[in-house]
Assembly symmetry: C2
Homo-oligomer: 531 residues x 2
């Protein structure tokens, strides 16, 4: 078997125990492309775990300036290699090269790495706290154990296991990463890992700080997730996959940060529909079909009043969906999953208004709208919240604001919740009630814009209540909160200044913001203040 | 059956479905004291869950000033009722009334409630972050679901489920608490719950914000822990109990914050022993036997060089332990557990130097020292790390610093790790190496003092790596980190100012510290900055 090498223990090397091989597929044609990649065996996973564990203390003790230099160097390498990366990602995902990959996702990837570097330099994620009277100093510190990162299919660059936000967060907290390449875009992963590895060597990080394996079977993945040598897991993907990894990790006391499925309910209030129904139909269409609808924050559930304005909105949306070409999905599995979901939603009472079926060549699916009355939805609320990952959305028609509120009471946790209101204030009271009910059920509450588009910002929460993610207090985007997922709280009790980490010492030459005796300060402490 | 009432749904009421009853026992005599308390059935747990769930939104929407007023009023009530509370706790636990309960634990309890009130007033736990360009505002917010708190046997006041740090943290984050009274001190719990309930009514919190049940059986506890209506769990207790609750909670995606067992390794370096061995023996004796050794941070593993100074230290410690009276344990179960643990440690190769057996009247145990050579310890490192909860410690004798380091590599996660060094600098190099190796294995690294005594400070970490707790990044003591365990991250995306929570609005009349566009600020924003 002539397969591509793995990045293990600081070198590109042949798999020790290949269990098979696979090639990427151009989803627009269904044809295999690129070289063969190995399915790893237990010996490869063990080698990666052993190397990462051996490197963990050295990486934790690496000066933050060097970590930041790595993140910046890697970001620059991503920028410099943009042409190749975009071409590879486009070939493997069929995502638009210019508008999406080159203009949005690649710059976002580099920016996230640079924001992580900045967070490393300013120690913001460490939250240094000093109590001079009690002789106590604490901060968030590395786990001293590797983090396993599982990236999703839908962001080949910005959420890639070896380049995305989980990767940047884990490295910023000075933990080695064992990345799993996503099988739908292995060449993109390989290229990114090559850039990361070169930056590791150039900036002098421990060589095993970044490792990457290609696919391995489910049992092996669960064994990795439950290995006590692991410090944490970062996962973005399906609910079934996330739940299985979580169960394995939970049994071993390993924190698993999961971003799973979400249908991102959107509520259109009557005034907004009366005022700008046609524009909303267009906005909804664009959000639901961009990237063939393969977003974590795709608007999968649209709540529309059952009145004349609602009917006009639906008619406009249906016309727009009908006129659109089928969207290319990432893989046959995604296509099959969408077929199943659309069929299941109909089985529970939804009617298909437009689309609803696959198309060729490759893995295409027709932009799809389903519809159900709220009273029908409320008969099977769990089943009708099934995520249909792709260019599809379920319209729920409500006869009153009360029915909207009843529906909200039956919603699972979601990443986002959106409310559209009229600009003239006539919907404001309803917005307040709907928004208040939605608030605890979503991570991000949005006014008057579609949920797709997750800004990279310290104020962003790309998280939400169970089961949209695995923890209500964490986000996959937004430094420093995203970094702190991969940190341990460390306290020093009367430990000598020379043995403290830099940000907890009396002298503070870098001007790190620290909470000292209840006040934020950036200056030096009097020597021996902690004695 | 004439049993004490439960605090459910805002009123003291008879159990709906009592499954039995029990009375407290004076552990110093073994005799039953006080009234009968009910073992609850499923209907009582359901009533508490339903009432807490119904109150959750209202409590989340309660102005922080009122939450703070409740916490302060409760703290004052605890202070005012000190005589009764101390007498009840002393009768039920046999902990010293004056030195421990009245002078240390009760003031600590009131102080924790007041620090929580302060954290509520200054919004420190909320971490407001505003990105004006992106139109995003985020903060940590209530879970909008109840928190179940399970308190331990060993702090009848300061870690009580209805008064301790988990309680204060959950209420500070505006979540209702369902407290489980610890069966070894029900009257203390009842008295505290009465004070809390009165403060709830006096300050106008939703009446079901604080509820308390007495015992229920294991199956019912696990059903509660896995109920999707629950927002989180705070638990302090045994590893077996914590693990079982965690498994139930994990399956439902409920965060469980567990503080479990810890043996708190202490390393005595050669210079320290040569310099002040006799004083260290006294310090160790006091720490190991205070409160009959029933502390989470009891020094349960003492690493002592196998040389003449080490022998002298051990001889002095043995003499001190031998001369001491048996310590009173909290319950027959604690006594039985200690008997089993001491026997098991001997079965794995440790020798009993002093004590090792129970005594009467009541539930007493002789202060106990066991000893094993490091090479013996390393044959069964897992078994010899078994916690012996009570006035007992295992001495491990090492022949070299390398042997200490090997031993550290086999240590499980612990709350604390301590190193004693000479004052003249001769141990400094060894301290650096030992401390560095211990660091990732403990929550708090301590120099030259025993681990018992957990200061209430923002810089305290009363947490540690698995399995000493359930999460490496959280602490049970120290605001605001302890509060943030019970919070959800909420983001607002272009939401109108009037619908934002107070600390995220343009106007900032309270001068809350907020991160605005990357800078900490306490002033107002220009109106409409987020548009």
């Amino acid at each position: 078997m002539d397969v591509q090498p793995l990045l293990v223990a600081g070198a590109w090397q042949a798999p020790r125990e290949p269990k098979g091989q696979y090639r990427a597929v151009d989803p627009a044609t269904g044809e295999a492309i690129g070289p063969a990649y190995p399915v790893c065996g237990a010996a490869d996973v063990e080698a990666a775990l052993a190397a990462a564990s051996a490197a963990a203390d050295a990486l934790a003790d690496t000066p933050p300036a060097r970590i930041a230099a790595f993140l910046d160097a890697y970001a620059q390498a991503v920028d410099d290699d943009a042409g190749t990366l975009v071409a590879l990602a486009h070939a493997e995902t069929a995502l638009p090269a210019e508008t999406r990959l080159a203009k949005v996702e690649l710059p976002r990837t580099a920016r996230q790495l640079r924001l992580a570097a900045q967070a490393v330099r300013d120690y913001a994620w460490c939250e240094p706290v000093i109590d001079t009277a009690a002789g106590l100093r604490s901060h968030y510190a590395p786990l001293h154990k590797p983090v396993a990162v599982f990236g999703p299919n839908n962001f080949p660059l910005a959420f890639n296991a070896v380049a995305g936000s989980d990767f940047a967060s884990a490295i910023a907290a000075r933990n080695p990463v064992i990345a799993k390449a996503h099988p739908s875009h292995p060449a993109t992963c390989e290229r990114l890992a090559q850039l990361a590895h070169r930056a590791v060597l150039d900036t002098g990080l421990p060589a095993a700080s970044v490792q990457m394996l290609y696919g391995y079977d489910r049992a092996l993945g669960l064994r990795l997730a439950g290995d006590a040598r692991l410090g944490a897991i970062g996962f973005t993907g399906s609910r079934a996959g996330g739940m299985a990894l979580k169960a394995a990790a939970d049994a071993a006391g390993i924190p698993a940060y999961l971003e799973m499925s979400s249908i991102n309910p959107v509520f259109l209030l009557p005034g907004a529909l009366a005022e700008r129904g046609a524009a909303l139909a267009e906005e909804f269409f664009v959000s639901c079909t961009a990237g063939s609808g393969q977003f974590c924050t795709n608007p999968g559930l649209l709540v529309v009043p059952d009145d004349a304005d609602g009917d006009a909105f639906v008619a406009a949306a249906v016309a727009r969906f009908k006129a659109a070409a089928p969207g290319v999905l990432f893989a046959r599995g995604v296509q099959a999953g969408l077929e199943e979901a659309v069929e299941a939603l109909q089985g529970w009472g939804a009617t298909c208004l437009v689309g609803g079926s696959s198309a060729g060549p490759g893995y295409r699916f027709r932009p799809t709208l389903l519809q159900v009355a709220a009273r029908g939805f409320l008969k099977h609320p769990a089943e009708l919240q099934r995520e249909a990952f792709g260019p599809a959305s379920l319209l729920v028609r409500t006869r009153s604001e009360d029915e909207m509120l009843t529906l909200i009471a039956h919603l699972e946790g979601n990443l986002t919740g959106t409310v559209y209101a009229a600009t003239d204030g006539r919907d404001d009271a309803a917005f307040a009630r709907i928004g208040r009910a939605l608030r605890p059920r979503v991570g991000r509450l949005i006014a008057n814009r579609m949920p797709t588009g997750v800004a990279v910002s310290a104020a962003m929460n790309h998280g939400g209540p169970w089961p949209s993610t695995g923890h209500p207090g964490f986000t996959a985007v937004g430094m420093p909160a995203a970094i702190r997922r991969f940190a341990a709280l460390h306290c020093y009790d009367h430990v000598a200044d020379a043995l403290l980490p830099p940000e907890l010492r009396d002298r503070n030459p870098g001007g790190v913001a620290r909470q000292v005796d209840g006040r934020w300060r950036t200056d030096d402490l009097a020597p021996g203040a902690a004695a």
